[in-house]
Amino acid sequence: MDEQLKSELRRQGVVATSLQELYNWGRKSSLWPLNFGLACCAIEMIATTMARYDLARFGAEVFRPSPRQADLMIVAGTVTKKMAPQVVRLYNQMPEPKYVISMGACAISGGPFKQGYNVLKGIDRYIPVDVYIPGCPPRPEALIDAFLMLQKKIDEQYLTGPTRPRHLNADMPSEFIVPEFGEHDLVPTQNRDVWQVPLVNISNAGKNESGSD
């Protein structure tokens, strides 16, 4: 529809919209997060929902304890290897359309605990992530920013065509491999369909550092 005509109509009190806009508006305006905290970031997540930062302003205050009723997973905190299968399982149990915010350095890459033997180096090894928020922990404002970013992302989605979101594409998976506990590590250590090891060019790396450190 012609944008000029649409704004002209709106001035006359007639709201014209497309199904896509309506659909996206509906989805982005009532994101129900899963009531699910892992570590330090969860406290900031709670603080975001409290009176001062008031996440309710963005239509996302309804924290659901059950994954069946939620459409946004905020991975708030360090994902340990012992916890990773449960996180993936919870994600699998959420109905489509579903989104993931990876909150904090730990959920992105393991953060300060990256060297730990029981720490998963980023939840994106097993499930797709929509928005990453750096910080340790990110401030409530950062979480709100992530919400706005996610809303914008939803708003820009097309319902048809090759770029349509995953839940409208029957060929795309909505469930992902749940890792199992092995003798030394999780099996598999990553879901290769979701995440590939970014290979560093080892022939050049480290040459500049010789003698330093």
Binding site: K82, S109, G110, K114, Q115, Y117, N118, K121, F181, G182, E183, H184, D185, T189, Q190, V197, P198, L199, V200, N201, I202, S203, A205, G206, E209, D213
Partner: protein
């Protein structure tokens, strides 16, 4: 009550036990008492119930790994070399460690005393890693001994429920040991160096490389 007094009191009350005071040279001066594992339980129950000490509160229980270490010390020794007396360097090798250690920090809530630090050592780090559990005396040792079993592999005989505490069932390693090697979950770093670079190379060789 200082540690020497406690030691002589224990020796008077628990016949046959072998005690040794491990001195602590740091400014904290928290010396500890090494007790042989055969008599540890009797010694500990005396410490808990003996009227003069009454260590009714076991605060902290933990394990420590001391791998076998060879320390070579150089000493100048006078020796006759070809009929002439000379100063010759002689290297003396001493071995330390080679055991796992369990440490208990005991306090007395009644007498406001402490800490009395109790240590027990296993015979080696592989098979003979048994120590008596003190959980029947102090329940606060329950989870902490399980943790030491989980992370260090010390087996506490007499513990009511000795399972892994933090890692999952089916995990085989004891990750807090000094010689534990992390699994290869190689982490990408744009400016890899040192250890990360070494592991990146190993990983990429295993994956087929660039």
């Amino acid at each position: 009550m200082n540690l020497e007094a406690i030691k002589s009191e224990i020796e008077a009350n628990v016949p046959g036990c072998r005690l040794e005071i491990i001195p602590n040279t740091s400014p904290s001066a928290q010396h500890s008492l090494l007790v042989d594992s055969a008599h540890a339980f009797t010694v500990a129950s005396f410490l808990r119930d003996g009227a003069s000490v009454r260590l009714d509160y076991c605060s902290n229980v933990t394990g420590i790994d001391w791998p076998l270490k060879e320390i070579s010390t150089k000493t100048k020794v006078k020796k006759l070399v070809d009929g002439v007396e000379k100063d010759v360097d002689e290297i003396v090798k001493t071995q330390t460690g080679g055991y796992l250690e369990a440490v208990y920090h005991l306090y007395s809530m009644e007498q406001r005393q402490g800490p009395v630090i109790l240590r027990m050592r296993t015979e080696d780090r592989t098979d003979r890693v048994h120590l008596p559990s003190l959980t029947p005396l102090w329940r606060s040792a329950d989870f902490q001994e399980r943790e030491a079993f989980d992370l260090f592999g010390i087996i506490f005989d007499g513990h009511p429920d000795l399972r892994r505490l933090l890692m999952w069932e089916g995990f085989v390693d004891h990750p807090m040991r000094r010689d534990y090697v992390d699994p290869d979950d190689y982490e990408y770093e744009p400016t890899a160096h040192d250890e990360v670079l070494k592991r990146a190379k190993e990983h990429q060789a295993a994956e087929g490389g660039l």
